[in-house]
């Protein structure tokens, strides 16, 4: 049965590994190398300049520093809000309802809610961007929120939400949350489904209300799923780009108020022809992602509860 094992292994691995090495590993490795040069990207002339690009990154208060700040904000807000909302919804839809017999079940209409909430997840970010850009549009362009506020007699930002320095980042984050909540709702729901009903019934017999049920039973048993969701949302937060590209004025404006790291890398690489500088920022992003994964795996580890 061992006959021909190695030729077989080789024949199955050769193509995927070659393709992966050529188009993924190699470009990443090259990016590290480029980040140590002064290469513009267009000519073949470049010199090694050590870590100068990295030093200059932190002097660029027009693009890089605002981008680091905004990506940092997204990195904190997006996971907290998304996980909070989707845990709440998942709890209500799966466990929050109490039938008259005292059985544990979701509130009525939970299937409908799950189908609706999840829908944004299958829409492309390009579609979501177009949709919400119009929702946020100023009143004279027919924005939905501005129009609604006017009907209620309330003030709305004159140039729309996305042209307002103070509101643009929050508006983009709101759309990110909007599109992500359904996914994590379904994700947490399937994790909740594996918690034995008896635990809840025991809790109810002991007089636990819904708050206690959630914080004392559900959350501790879901800890691993929450941790996974956290890592995923953090990676999403670091990679935010398409919505900023589609929705905001000047793809990061106004005035750098919605610049994000991904967008700035793209700008330096493909609009300003400053390849080496873009790569240096990319390397920073890479190490941010790496340390994030390591930290969340170490710090977040708890005793696994067997049930």
């Amino acid at each position: 049965m061992r006959h021909g094992k190695y030729p077989f292994i080789l024949s199955f691995l050769a193509l995927p590994v070659a393709l992966y090495a050529w188009l993924v590993i190699l470009p990443f490795a090259q990016a590290f190398q480029i980040s140590l040069t002064d290469w513009s990207g267009s000519s073949n002339q470049f010199e090694y300049i050590g870590l100068d690009n990295y030093v200059n990154l932190f002097k660029d208060d027009r693009l890089v520093l605002p981008a680091l700040r905004n990506t940092g904000i997204i990195l904190v807000v997006l996971p907290v809000v998304t996980i909070g909302l989707s845990l709440f919804f998942a709890f209500m839809l799966n466990i929050g309802g109490r039938s008259r017999q005292g059985r544990i079940e979701g509130v009525r209409g939970s299937r409908f809610h799950k189908v609706v909430f999840f829908f944004p997840q299958v829409l492309s970010l390009a579609i979501i961007g177009i949709l919400w850009k119009q929702v946020y549009a100023p009143e004279n362009f027919g924005g939905l929120i501005a129009g609604g506020l006017r009907t209620l007699g309330l003030p709305a930002p004159v140039n729309g939400f996305l042209a307002d320095k103070r509101l643009v980042l929050a508006s983009v984050i709101a759309v990110l949350v909007w599109s992500a909540v359904g996914f994590y709702l379904v994700f947490f729901s399937s994790a909740m489904a594996s918690i034995p009903r008896e635990l809840y019934e025991a809790g109810i017999v002991d007089g636990a209300g819904r708050f206690q049920t959630f914080f004392k039973i559900t959350l501790p048993l879901l800890w691993e799923s929450v941790q996974t969701a956290w890592i995923y949302l953090s990676i999403i937060a670091l990679d935010v780009f398409v919505l900023v590209y589609m929705m905001t004025p000047g793809q990061g404006g106004p005035d750098g108020a919605s610049e994000v790291v991904g967008g700035v890398i793209w700008k330096y690489a493909f609009k300003h022809g400053e390849q080496a500088f873009a790569s240096a920022l990319g390397v920073v992003l890479f190490f941010a992602a790496l340390s994030l994964a390591v930290v969340s795996l170490r710090v977040g580890r708890r005793e696994r509860i067997e049930y």
Binding site: V24, I34, F117, F119, L123, L144, A146, G147, F183, S279
Partner: protein
């Protein structure tokens, strides 16, 4: 709603109830609050989508002046404009053309690599596995420009062949990671029996293991279809000719052009056209899609 309360003659109300009614105030307040919140969120999803569909039937003047109203008369020419001037039909065909090859390529190469990594011991197995799995964390932005140059050097820039190869390569980390875990769970008894019966390694893979791995293959295929259909960054950088744009890129181009041509109706019509197939697929397959996408997230 039928209740389980036994029907008793009215006179029985005088006798003490066996179980005192549970205090309901907390429950009621929570119920009202949480129901309201659930419906509010539901509306937040439904309203913008329905609204953009309504807007796609409005004239430019109506869109700006009467955002909350219904279209006076449906402007079907918005759809004609989106299809002809906006080239939405062309973008659909482009995307399908790419994805037929990129999805089958991803699944074939991913399954082959994952199968070998899951079920054969050899030197370097772990190294290759972590090489693939580690790729899930790399921010694509870092590789964009070197990737652009790599394709340029072999004249694959602005070609579908290049885009297909890149899609496959960048879908491999997750596909391999997920399918390796899946192949590991398959019982080894069947495989041993097949080998004893004289099946070679290749026949074992294609005729025994692949069919057994069907649920995992379906889940990850759905995951990849949605991911590649929605891909934006890679085509933005690698396909610069607007004629060759894939759907999400084409919509973005349409959105840019709308900025100075001032035809929002056509843009919304194009957006709705791009949404319809996804919406229908979602309605029909929503169970599988939800399972496929979230199964993908469970490590």
């Amino acid at each position: 709603m039928a209740t389980q309360t036994p029907t008793k003659p009215r006179t029985a109300a005088a006798e003490p109830a066996g179980v005192p009614p549970r205090p309901r105030t907390e429950g009621t307040v929570m119920n009202v609050f949480s129901h309201a919140f659930l419906w509010l969120w539901g509306l937040m999803v439904i309203v913008p989508v329905v609204w953009i569909v309504l807007s796609s039937f409005k004239s430019t003047r109506e869109i700006a002046a009467d955002p909350l109203g219904l279209p006076a008369a449906p402007q079907w020419e918005n759809y004609v404009n989106a299809w002809t001037n906006g080239d939405i039909g062309n973008y659909f065909v482009n995307t399908l053309q790419v994805m037929v090859f990129s999805i089958s390529g991803t699944m074939l190469l991913g399954a082959m690599a994952a199968y070998v990594l899951a079920r054969y011991e050899f030197r370097g197995n772990r190294l290759v596995y972590f090489g693939f799995a580690g790729g899930m964390m790399f921010p694509v932005f870092l590789a964009l420009f070197p990737l652009f140059k790599t394709l340029d050097n072999v004249s694959l820039l602005n070609t579908y062949t290049g885009l297909v190869l890149v899609y496959i390569a960048y879908s491999l980390p997750f596909t391999v990671f997920f399918l390796t875990a899946f192949f590991r769970t398959l019982p080894s008894g069947v495989a041993e029996a097949a080998l004893i019966d004289g099946a070679g390694h290749y026949r074992l893979f294609f005729q025994v293991m692949l069919p057994m791995a069907k649920p995992g293959l379906i889940a990850i295929t759905i995951f990849n279809i949605i991911g590649q259909w929605n891909q934006f960054l890679l085509p933005l950088v690698l396909m610069s000719d607007p004629e060759d744009a894939v759907i999400s890129q084409g919509l973005a181009n349409l959105a840019m052009r709308q900025g100075y041509e001032g035809d929002p109706g056509a843009l919304f019509a194009g957006t709705v056209l791009a949404m319809v197939p996804i919406f229908l697929a979602y309605l029909i397959f929503q169970r599988q899609i939800q399972a496929g996408l979230t199964a993908g997230a469970i490590k």
